[in-house]
C-alpha cells in the first residue's frame, strides 16, 4: 500500500487503506442495521395504530365529525268535542339571544331595539328572562312570531350582533286564550327541578331537544301522551361545527291528539253567563262522565306562559284579589250550602230516620234540646206546617234539615255523603285538584283536636260549618244523583288519537229502597217547577225539565240575633250563590254546578247561569256570537243578585 506523501494533497488517496475501508464498511453495516431497526419501529407503531387500534380510532374519528342533533317532536294537538283546535304547536320564527356568545348585551339590545322597534317593556321582560338560570348556550327568546321583514332586518345586521339567532321553533299556541286556561292549562320552559325529575325517572331521552313541558291542566296531566317521541339526525360537521350534510335521520313521532268533551260553544256560554263575575261552572255529561264545560273566572292568557311570563305580568296575576290563577273548578273550595240537601234527604230515607211522607212544622228556627241558641231558617218566620221531604228540598227548608241532622248525627251523614265523592278527589284528569272537607267526628279531632259538638251537626245539616266542596265535586255528586247512584269519574279527555277512553266507574250507591231516588229527584224537580220552588222563576219557561237545587254559602259568620243584610255587607263578604242541577229529569243528559262568588244567593246569581248553560247544551242555543272572549276584566264588579 502506498504511503501518502502529504496530508494536504486532496488528490492523493493517501489514507485510503484497506483497514479504513473495513472500518467504513462496518459503520455502514451498523447504519444499515439501525435504519432497518428504526423502520421496523415505525412499522410496528403504525401497525399498532392502524390495525390493532383501528376500531378505537375509527370511533374517535366518527365522534369528531358526527354529531347527533335532536329533532323535537310536535306536541299533540288538543281539540274540542267538535274538532276545533284548542292547543297546537305552530312553527314560528323566534329571535333568540345566546347569552354566552354576546359580547356586549346592552349594545346588542339597543341595536335590536332600533332594528325591530321593540318597546321598553318588552326589553324589561326579556331582561327578566335573561336573569333566570338556564342550560348553557340555550337561547333566551326575545321575540316570537317574526315576520319576513323582521327576519331580513336581523339577517342583515347579524354580523355585528354575535349571539343573536333566528330559529324556527314549534311554539305552543292557545287560539282561545283565556277561555280554556284553567282546563287545558299551558306549557312552559322546563325548570331545573323538572329537569332533575325527568333525569331521575330515566326519561331524559323522551325530552331530547324538548325545552318545554305541561305545567298545569291537561297539558300537565297528559304530558306523556302529548309529548311525542323525539327524532334525531346525525350530521357531519367540520372542526368549526359547521354542518356539512345529514348522514341519517330518525323522524320524530308527533304527540297524540287529544279530543276533549269540552267545547268552545259551551265554554263561551258559561263565560257569557257569568258575565265577568268571579265563579265557576262545571257541567258533566252524565252518561259518559265527560266534562263538557269547565270555566273558572277570572282567567288569564295561557299564551303568556309559553315563552316565559314577565315578572310584572306574573306579579299582577298572582297578587290580584280576584285570584285569576286559582283554578276554581277543582281547587276552589266553597261551603256547598243547601246544594247537598237532596243527598241528605236520601241519607235520612235510607237510614229510616224519615219517610217520604214524614212532615214537620217549621216555626222559623230550631233549638237543640236544653239550649237557647236558635238556628234560623233562611226564610223569616219559617215555612210553616206540612213540610215533607219534597217540599223541604223544593223550598230549601233549613229547619227540616236541622232536625234531620240532629237525629242522624254527623257520623251517619258523613258515611252516606262520602260515596257521593264529597271530601275526596273526584279523580278528574286535571292536576291540582283539592279534596274539600266532608266533616266527621274523626276529621274534627284530627284537624282541630276538638270534640264534635251537637251544634256542629246542625250546621253540617245545611252544608255549612266545616263543609267544603269544589265545583267539580258538586257537579259529580249531582251527576251521581241523576244516574241514581251510578258513579262515573269525571274526565275532560274523550279520546286519544281518536280512540275513546272508557269511563272509569266507581262503586255505585245502592239504596235499600230505590224509590227514594224519586223522592229526592222529585224534590229537585219542584225547585225549578214547583209553585214555591226556589228557582222556579229562572226555569219558568224552560222547554225541558230540570232537577236543581239552589245553595247559598255564608262567607262570614253571622251573629246570633243579627239579620243577614246583603246590602250592608261589603261586596267581598256577601254570600256565594250556588246552584246544582241536572236535566232533563227523566232521561238525564247533563249535570251542572255553578258558583258565583259573593253572588248573594243561589237562585238569584247561580241558577240563571245554569239556565243559560243548560240551554246551550240541550237546545243548542249559542250565546250571542262573539269573537274569542275578550279578557274577563280582572276588576269586574260582582253583579249583586237579588232574590
Amino acid at each position: 500500500m502506498a504511503h501518502h506523501p502529504s496530508h494536504y494533497s486532496s488528490t492523493l488517496l493517501s489514507h485510503n487503506t484497506n483497514s479504513e475501508r473495513r472500518v467504513f464498511a462496518r459503520r455502514l453495516m451498523i447504519s444499515g442495521v439501525v435504519v432497518v431497526v428504526l423502520s421496523l419501529t415505525l412499522l410496528i407503531r403504525y401497525y399498532l395504530l392502524q390495525i390493532v387500534r383501528n376500531e378505537h380510532f375509527s370511533t374517535q374519528s366518527d365522534a369528531n365529525r358526527i354529531h347527533t342533533m335532536a329533532i323535537p317532536p310536535a306536541r299533540g294537538v288538543i281539540q274540542d268535542l267538535e274538532g276545533t283546535v284548542l292547543a297546537q304547536s305552530k312553527p314560528s320564527f323566534t329571535l333568540e339571544i345566546i347569552k354566552e356568545r354576546v359580547q356586549d348585551i346592552d349594545y346588542t339590545l339597543r341595536e335590536l331595539q332600533n332594528i325591530l322597534q321593540l318597546d321598553d317593556s318588552e326589553l324589561d321582560r326579556f331582561r327578566d328572562r335573561l336573569k333566570r338560570r338556564q342550560r348553557p348556550y340555550e337561547g333566551v327568546m326575545l321575540r316570537g312570531n317574526l315576520d319576513d321583514e323582521q327576519i331580513a332586518l336581523i339577517a342583515v345586521n347579524r354580523y355585528r350582533l354575535p349571539g343573536v339567532e333566528v330559529t324556527a321553533k314549534l311554539v305552543r299556541d292557545y287560539p282561545f286564550g283565556e277561555l280554556f286556561a284553567h282546563s287545558i292549562g299551558y306549557v312552559g320552559r322546563i325548570s331545573e327541578k323538572e329537569m332533575q325529575k325527568i333525569e331521575d325517572a330515566g326519561e331524559t331521552d323522551n325530552y331530547y331537544g324538548v325545552f318545554s313541558m305541561g305545567k298545569v291542566g291537561i297539558e300537565k296531566s297528559y304530558e306523556k301522551k302529548l309529548l311525542g317521541t323525539p327524532g334525531a339526525q346525525n350530521v357531519e360537521t367540520d372542526v368549526r361545527g359547521r354542518i356539512l350534510r345529514t348522514l341519517d335521520r330518525k323522524d320524530p313521532v308527533r304527540g297524540a291528539t287529544l279530543t276533549l268533551y269540552l267545547n268552545v260553544r259551551m265554554q263561551q256560554a258559561a263565560v257569557e253567563a257569568l258575565a265577568g263575575r268571579r265563579g265557576a261552572v262545571v257541567a258533566i255529561d252524565v252518561n259518559t262522565g265527560g266534562v263538557v264545560t269547565a270555566v273558572s273566572t277570572p282567567s288569564f292568557d295561557p299564551n303568556l306562559f309559553v315563552a316565559g311570563i314577565s315578572g310584572k305580568d306574573y306579579g299582577a296575576l298572582r297578587d290580584s284579589p280576584d285570584l285569576p290563577l286559582l283554578n276554581r273548578i277543582i281547587a276552589g273550595e266553597y261551603p256547598p250550602g243547601s246544594t247537598i240537601k237532596p243527598q241528605l234527604v236520601l241519607a235520612g230515607l235510607d237510614g229510616g230516620f224519615i219517610t217520604p211522607e214524614y212532615q214537620i212544622y217549621d216555626p222559623g228556627f230550631f233549638q237543640l234540646p236544653g239550649q237557647t241558641r236558635k238556628f234560623r231558617d233562611w226564610k223569616k218566620g219559617g215555612h210553616g206546617s206540612g213540610i215533607n221531604a219534597h217540599l223541604a228540598i223544593a223550598q230549601s227548608c233549613d229547619i227540616y234539615f236541622y232536625q234531620l241532622a240532629h237525629r242522624m248525627g254527623i257520623d251517619r251523614m258523613h258515611d252516606f255523603l262520602a260515596p257521593f265523592g264529597l271530601g275526596q278527589l273526584t279523580g278528574v284528569d286535571l292536576s291540582g285538584e283539592r279534596k274539600g272537607v266532608l266533616p266527621s267526628r274523626e276529621w274534627k279531632r284530627k284537624r282541630f283536636k276538638q270534640a264534635w259538638y251537637p251544634g256542629d251537626s246542625i250546621n253540617a245539616g245545611i252544608g255549612q260549618g266545616y263543609h267544603l266542596a269544589t265545583p267539580m265535586q258538586l257537579a259529580a255528586a249531582t251527576a251521581t244523583l241523576a244516574r241514581r247512584g251510578i258513579r262515573i269519574q269525571p274526565h275532560l279527555v274523550k279520546a286519544i288519537d281518536g280512540m275513546d277512553i272508557a269511563p272509569a266507574y266507581d262503586t255505585p250507591i245502592l239504596l235499600r229502597n230505590p224509590r227514594h231516588w224519586d223522592t229526592a229527584i222529585g224534590g229537585m224537580h219542584e225547585v225549578t217547577q214547583g209553585p214555591r220552588g226556589t228557582a222556579k222563576k229562572v226555569f219558568a219557561d224552560a222547554p225541558y225539565t230540570v232537577a236543581g237545587k239552589t245553595g247559598t254559602a255564608q262567607v262570614v259568620g253571622i251573629a246570633q240575633n243579627e239579620k243577614y243584610d246583603a246590602a250592608k255587607l261589603a261586596e267581598r263578604q256577601r254570600d256565594h250563590g250556588l246552584f246544582v242541577a241536572f236535566a232533563p229529569v227523566d232521561k238525564p243528559q247533563i249535570a251542572i254546578a255553578v258558583i258565583v262568588e259573593n253572588g248573594n244567593s243561589g237562585s238569584g246569581a247561580a241558577a240563571p247561569v245554569a239556565r243559560q248553560v243548560l240551554d246551550a247544551w240541550l237546545l243548542g242555543h249559542s250565546p250571542v256570537p262573539t269573537a274569542i272572549q275578550k279578557p274577563i276584566a280582572l276588576e269586574a264588579a260582582s253583579h249583586g243578585a237579588e232574590e
Binding site: R27, L42, I51, S61, N64, R240, L244
Partner: protein, 380 residues
C-alpha cells in the same frame, strides 16, 4: 491505476471502463427514478391534503422540477472543487446563523429567518444541513481515519458552534438534525466507540440541564404531550390526538383518497405540511404507509450503495451521511406524527409542502450523484 482484489472495487471498475450516458451526465438513474416516484407519490397525497388542491400541487411540482435541476447542476461539481469551497460554504453558513441571531426576523416567536434584500427570505440553518457534513467530510478526507482525539475535538467545535446558535433561535428540531448530520460524519469516519460511549454519557448527564436551562416552555410541553396528550386535549395535545386518530382510523386500506374525514374536515392541523403523513395514513391506510416506507428505504439503500462504492473518504463520508440523514428526517417526522417522538418541526422529506426543504434535499442528492459518477482518479 491501483488494482485491488477487493470485490468492492469490481463494479466501479467495470463502470469506469464502459462509461454510460448517465455517468457522463453525472446522473444516477436509479436514484432519479426513486426520487421521482417519491415526489409523484407525495404530490398525489398533497393534492388531497392541501385546501387549494391543484394550486398546491402545481407549486410543489414546480419546486420539485427546480430541485431536480439544482440536483443535476450540483452533480456536475467536481469533488475536489467541492472540498475547496467546503470551508467557504461552512463559514458562510455560520456567519449567516450569527447574523440571524443579531438581525434575524422574528416569526412565530423564534428568530429563524434572514431577509436579505434581493434574495428570498430563507433560514440559514437549512444551509448548514448540507454545509456542515460537507465541511466535516472534507476535514476528515484530509486526515487519517479513524480520527484522532485532536481531530475529534476540532470537528466537535465545528459542529457545536452552529448547532448552539440554531438551538438558541430557538429551533431545537433543526439544531438536532444539524447536530446528527455532523455526528453521523464522525461515526462514519470510524470514531472510536469510546467516544460514542462518552458522548452518550455526556448526553444523559446533560439532559436534565437541557431540560431546565436550555429548553423553552413550549418545548417542554411538546415532550410532555408525548406521554399524555389527553392532559391538554384542546391545546398542546390537540395535534397529536388528532393525528393519531387520523392514522388509526385509516386501517389497512384507508378511507380513500380525498375521503379522510380527519383531514378533509380540518380536524387535523398542518395537514399539508408537517402532518401530511397522517393524511396519507388516513386516506391510503397501512398499505399506503408501507409503500412510502419502501420508497424511502430504497432511496436510502441506493444512497448507501453509492457511498459503499465511493472511491474516496470524502465521498464515502458525505454520501452515507446524506443518505442516513435523509432517512432520519423521514423517521423523525413519521415518529412524531404517530406519537413516539416529541413534535419538532421536521417535514416529511419530499412529501410535505415546502420549497426550501425540497431544494436543500435535492442538493444533497446532487452531491450523492456526483459521488456515484465520480471519475476514478489516477494514482500518481
Amino acid at each position: 491505476m491501483r488494482t485491488s482484489p477487493d470485490f468492492i472495487r469490481q463494479l466501479p471498475t467495470t463502470g469506469a471502463i464502459h462509461r454510460t450516458l448517465w455517468q457522463r451526465l453525472h446522473i444516477d438513474p436509479v436514484l432519479l427514478l426513486l426520487l421521482c416516484a417519491l415526489a409523484g407519490y407525495g404530490l398525489f397525497v398533497l393534492y388531497s391534503a392541501a385546501d387549494d388542491h391543484l394550486i398546491a400541487m402545481e407549486k410543489q411540482g414546480g419546486f420539485f422540477v427546480l430541485g431536480v435541476c439544482v440536483m443535476i447542476a450540483v452533480a456536475q461539481i467536481n469533488q475536489s472543487t467541492l472540498r475547496l469551497v467546503a470551508p467557504v460554504l461552512y463559514g458562510l453558513g455560520v456567519l449567516l446563523v450569527i447574523a440571524v441571531a443579531l438581525f434575524g426576523e422574528i416569526s412565530m416567536g423564534a428568530r429563524r429567518w434572514l431577509d436579505i434584500p434581493g434574495l428570498p427570505r430563507f433560514q440559514p440553518s437549512e444551509m448548514l444541513k448540507i454545509g456542515l457534513p460537507v465541511m466535516l467530510a472534507t476535514y476528515f478526507h484530509e486526515r487519517s481515519t479513524p480520527p484522532r482525539f485532536k481531530h475529534v475535538f476540532w470537528s466537535l467545535v465545528m459542529i457545536m458552534v452552529p448547532v448552539t446558535l440554531i438551538v438558541r433561535q430557538p429551533d431545537l428540531g433543526t439544531g438536532l438534525l444539524v447536530l446528527s448530520s455532523g455526528l453521523m460524519v464522525l461515526f462514519m469516519a470510524g470514531i472510536h466507540w469510546g467516544y460514542i460511549a462518552a458522548a452518550i454519557a455526556v448526553a444523559a448527564a446533560a439532559a436534565p440541564v437541557m431540560w431546565f436551562f436550555v429548553m423553552h416552555d413550549y418545548q417542554h410541553k411538546r415532550v410532555l404531550m408525548l406521554f399524555d396528550p389527553e392532559s391538554d386535549k384542546l391545546g398542546a395535545g390537540w395535534n397529536i390526538i388528532q393525528s393519531q386518530t387520523a392514522i388509526g382510523s385509516g386501517g389497512w386500506a384507508g378511507k380513500g383518497w380525498q375521503q379522510g374525514t380527519q383531514s378533509q374536515l380540518n380536524f387535523l392541523p398542518e395537514s399539508h405540511t408537517d402532518f401530511i403523513i397522517a393524511v396519507l395514513s388516513e386516506e391510503l391506510g397501512y398499505r399506503g404507509v408501507l409503500v412510502l416506507l419502501c420508497i424511502y428505504l430504497l432511496i436510502v439503500a441506493r444512497g448507501l450503495w453509492i457511498s459503499w462504492h465511493a472511491q474516496e473518504t470524502f465521498g464515502r463520508l458525505l454520501g452515507s451521511t446524506i443518505s442516513i440523514t435523509f432517512f432520519l428526517y423521514a423517521f423523525v417526522n413519521m415518529g412524531m406524527v404517530s406519537g413516539i417522538l416529541p413534535v419538532v418541526g421536521v417535514p416529511l422529506p419530499l412529501v410535505s409542502q415546502g420549497g426550501t426543504a425540497i431544494v436543500i434535499l435535492m442538493i444533497g442528492f446532487g452531491l450523492l450523484m456526483s459521488i456515484s459518477t465520480e471519475k476514478k482518479r489516477p494514482v500518481y
